[in-house]
Symmetry: C2
Subunit: 152 residues, 2 copies
Amino acid sequence: MRVSAKADYAVRAAVELAAAGEGEPVKGERLATSQDIPLQFLEHILLELKHQGLVRARRGAKGGYWLARPADEVTVADVVRAVEGPIANVQSMPPETIEYAGNAESLRDVWIAVRANIRSVLEEVTLADLVAKEMPSSVEALTAEPDSWAAR
Amino acid sequence: MRVSAKADYAVRAAVELAAAGEGEPVKGERLATSQDIPLQFLEHILLELKHQGLVRARRGAKGGYWLARPADEVTVADVVRAVEGPIANVQSMPPETIEYAGNAESLRDVWIAVRANIRSVLEEVTLADLVAKEMPSSVEALTAEPDSWAAR
DNA sequence: GCACTCTCGACCTGAAGAGTCGAGAAAGTC
DNA sequence: GACTTTCTCGACTCTTCAGGTCGAGAGTGC
């Protein structure tokens, strides 16, 4: 139930690329400094994003990275999945494949519901939303609840 | 974004205790075999649950474990928190304490929304619900969606 | 006293998370 | 064509943690 540094970095870098828009490619170093991410580590992450087809890159002078798709067609879920694989696992297995014995049978439904609820946020929010700082209304409704901000 | 073996085991053991009801204490070994959990590992988990006040225990013949509270007053969230600590962290920090720079500012709201949505499931379902195999309607609605079952 | 069962610290092993390093390959510039 | 810039990518480190095992001890009931 935790978001890794890698996933966090990946989304932040992707948002930065989204903000840069269509113009010139953005250099790795600029991404690293503007989001305060270790450069070498970030390069690995960007490479993964490239391999997953989310990002494109060019080397050399005038080189850099840019988004492969328009920012409003890339969701946070896409970015997280690109670097972390499936978004919600139990014991490294997708919840729908797990068989529980006897009394615990319904536990699977709980994990399924949790996963569905995580998806409903991450698959709704796009990089464009983040740049614009305007969340979809379903997400906005959640952050508007004061209770959501309480540590627990 | 993954549930550890420990958390999974803890919930399953707790459900088993809930199913056993008020009568005699349940032995560790019986919990281990009925839910197929390594006994020694399970004992550590039960100890943690005891330290968190969720479970009580007695040693010796006729010894065993039982729930400290009625099964309908213990939620899955309670059990998970007892063994894993806070339920949704980013880079090991609670999301509300994170400061993002510039373009990524709104990312915090996304993590907050995700956490709220996870809670809304785990804090609703009680051990009694699991034993009865009847989920609260809000959770039932989620598992009823075929899309929730799709691997992704 | 004895069998039973929880208590709990010590230990182990492998994998994963979070980086770092350094050589190389493509792209542009002069 | 040399040179610089910037991505590419495998190899390596270092620490932590997940997941589990062992064994001695301490409380309980008979």
